[in-house]
Symmetry: C2
């Protein structure tokens, strides 16, 4: 196709480059379609057709006429569209099935918006607010969030910021009024510039950003709007009054609906998240011992086990935990949670759990490392290591259950003592010179590493248990004596006094 | 103070409880003051005084008169206020010094807002837009973000969503008009409910949330506002037109100012973040070998070393990287970055770097473990381990520098080969039976673990290098032959062919 003289080579390269561009264009278009397909379907249809058209042209002969090539791309495209639309809808259905509260939240948002739109439809209400009722609608759209805490936080931020900014804007308006018709816009402009710059800068402060970012945004917005409007409209006080009232109406509609109709509490979510993260680590540890020491000779791959991958989500859970704790701090007393519930302590437990997950990530790395060679070495410490892993796992699951049910974690303490005594057993085993002189040190290293990482995990688990016990004391967890207390494991090694 | 009869004990407990409440109240008030102090100073002043007053009253005798106790708390409080205000300002100054772009951004935000407020001040402009100019102000406040990418993303989202929602709202208005004066609000209400519920649900979709969340919010807002307003105002088309125009004016003001005046590119920030994260790991590894094998007999604590803690921030960098990559995708060509720069590949490198950081976290755990006992064992593999750590560290620093300067990482390859050959040396060392029979296996375990984790780190570094090399090929990094190529280390062990 491409000759070897310089000119045709250039032409050929140019053609290849164009083809590359087209493919890249198609990829970008497809990504975009993936995301917003149903909404922008009609907008982007012609571009997509053209892109596919061009691509086909470059793949087939260039000489074919437009008419002759008309059908196949359109047919192919309509099939592509069908698949995409179906994929998108099945994805949406899965989202709803995963957490039905999402469907409920969407209906609640629709209801809240319909309620405040009554200010427009119902004559007596419209009479008193007029177009200012718009602010109630805007407030509902931006304030209504998934959890009660987020909604309350935004509502309070918006309300307080509107009040404060309104007051200051009235003051700025009065001051500007004193400086005459020419001086007024200059003074107003100066105030707007100053407060926007200062407030924008204060938003960089991490402590303020975490809780009051939205409030500062609304402060800038309201101050600017009211002080600027004051230049054209002298009834600034009435403006502030109406705006504040509509914001309060919109905000309280959101809060009331979010609290009364199937409330979603961020605090409860944080509580469950911390517990389920701990459980995920527990599931990994319970399975790890068996997986590590089992020979894969029965033809199955260890990579199939989904329970060994569950802990991965814990590694990146910090942002989610921080956000939930921030929302939870706004929430009033609900269920078993007080207004000043120790959310910060949950974050502490979460951080310890994450620390444990980092150790487990290192452990997981060694799960698939060259297994066959070290069979002899492994078998010697298999029982102790399996017990360490299993008991830590059980302890974590018990702690998770204790948090979930808010019952004192008695059973966990026993598992932790068991895992600690396994650590001691391991020490004895190593000291007792169980290893013969022919033991290849090269083979000892990987097994020693796993044992050492398991010791770290036991330490982490102990820290987590201590922290959960602190929480149990703080929140006065229920004391339920365990019915069938878990027995101590039979390790076959001499028991050493538990420290 | 408290007698032992039942009644006075109850009274005493009640008083203690009250005191606890007051202290808790004061702590909450103080936290709040910490955050928003300058703004809410005047609002909260009386409450604070009262709280301090009450507390003092409970600590001193209860009989003292109000007047007699007037001074000390006020004096103490004014001192407290002074400290808090000073702390807050020094914190703000530090924020500005840490990243002066924050100050510039704040001034830019002020400028953008002042510019759009001209629509109110300047008569000819006000004539054509009237109060609709308000939308330009609102757009500037909510769209203007720190980086160009974030501003562009929000601007495009807002513009497209306003256009789309405006069009659909006009259609909904026409349909509702057909159903008569009584049917109209019902049809409109139904449409508003339906689109709010559907759009709110679609916002849960993670891919859409990442890029188009703001667009969907504005879609709900605009559709609701325009279709509802249509009930009272028949000139819906003009409403849509004015709203779209003012949003475009506000949005383009933001984009122009953010691109032309000291632009902050999210892409550049992501590029720097990835490079600096790698550098932090490199700094740790360069120092680790010496720190681990050094005896702390010279009386200094290892915990003082800040360079050993720098890597911690890498553990939680995922959210930040994802956000920057999302913003960067909106940015046009700038400096050395194309419009379709492979930002996803940066995220891949970031994930590998984080994986390496998890290993380093495990290593760090062993840095402070019982050191004295294992001096004999350590010294035997000290040189090899130090080389492994040092060479991986150097490789990471070279890779970081290669990304920063966009030059092919030749030197890194040499360091990686060096670290790999150290791994082989370690294997030889262990095989060669260097260990005598008296070696206590209990003492081998911690050193073996560190060696094993270092081998993992070498593997991770190799993966990172591979990924950076892919990026270098993708982006055609500059080829600069290293001037003084780093020499191979003298390990004192037999060299084995580099695989």
């Amino acid at each position: 196709m491409c000759g070897f003289d310089r000119r045709s080579m250039h032409a050929c390269m140019h053609r290849l480059e164009l083809m590359g561009n087209r493919i890249a264009f198609k990829r970008v278009t497809n990504n975009f379609l993936d995301a917003l397909f149903p909404l922008i379907f009609f907008l982007f249809y012609p571009a997509q057709i053209k892109a596919m058209d061009l691509e086909c042209a470059s793949q087939e002969t260039v000489k074919q006429g437009l008419l002759a090539r008309g059908w196949p791309p359109i047919k192919g495209f309509s099939k592509h569209v069908k698949t995409k639309v179906l994929e998108f809808f099945s994805h949406l259905i899965k989202l709803g099935q995963d957490d039905p509260r999402r469907v409920v939240h969407s209906l609640k948002a629709g209801l809240a918006l319909s309620l405040v739109s009554l200010f427009y439809y119902y004559q007596p209400l419209y009479k008193s607010f007029g177009v200012s009722a718009m602010w109630a609608v805007i407030t509902v759209v931006v304030v209504f969030e998934f959890s009660v805490g987020a909604t309350l936080g935004k509502g309070v931020n918006r309300g307080l910021a509107t009040l404060l900014a309104g007051g200051l804007a009235v003051g700025a308006h009065q001051l500007a009024n004193l400086s005459g018709r020419i001086g007024e816009p200059i003074v107003l402009g100066f105030f707007v510039f100053l407060q926007a710059a200062v407030s924008t800068f204060v938003r960089f402060c991490p402590q303020i950003k975490a809780r009051y970012d939205y409030g500062l945004l609304i402060f800038i917005l309201t101050f600017s709007l009211i002080s600027i409007s004051g230049f054209r409209d002298d009834e600034v006080l009435e403006l502030v009054h109406k705006r504040l009232l509509t914001v309060l109406i919109g905000g309280s509609t959101c809060v009331i609906i979010s609290v009364l109709l199937f409330p979603v509490w961020a605090g409860q979510d944080l509580h469950n998240l911390i517990a389920s993260n701990m459980e995920k680590l527990g599931i990994f540890l319970e399975g790890f011992g068996d997986e590590f020491f089992k020979m894969p000779e029965d033809g199955e791959s260890k990579e199939d086990r989904p329970f060994l991958q569950g802990y991965k989500s814990v590694l990146d859970s910090k942002t989610n935990e921080d956000a939930l704790a921030n929302f939870a701090r706004w929430e009033p007393r609900h269920g078993r949670f007080q207004f000043r519930h120790p959310w910060k302590h949950y974050l502490k437990i979460g951080a310890l759990t994450r620390k444990c997950a980092f150790r487990i990530e290192s452990l997981n790395e060694h799960l698939y490392a060259d297994i066959q060679a070290k069979r002899g070495i492994r078998s010697k410490i298999q029982e102790t290591c399996t017990t360490m892993s299993m008991e830590s796992g059980k302890a974590l699951k018990e702690l998770s259950m204790a948090i979930k049910t808010m019952v004192k974690p008695f059973a966990a303490d026993i598992h932790i003592e068991n895992s600690k005594s396994s650590v001691k057993n391991l020490d004895t085993l190593l000291k007792s010179g169980l290893w013969d002189d022919e033991t290849d040190l090269l083979e000892v290293v990987p097994v020693a590493t796993v044992a050492s990482l398991l010791i770290d995990v036991v330490t982490c688990t102990d820290e987590i248990a201590e922290s959960v016990n602190e929480l149990a004391t703080m929140l006065k967890f229920e004391v339920v004596e365990p019915t069938g207390s878990p027995e101590k494991p039979e390790t076959g090694q001499p028991k050493i006094g538990i420290s």
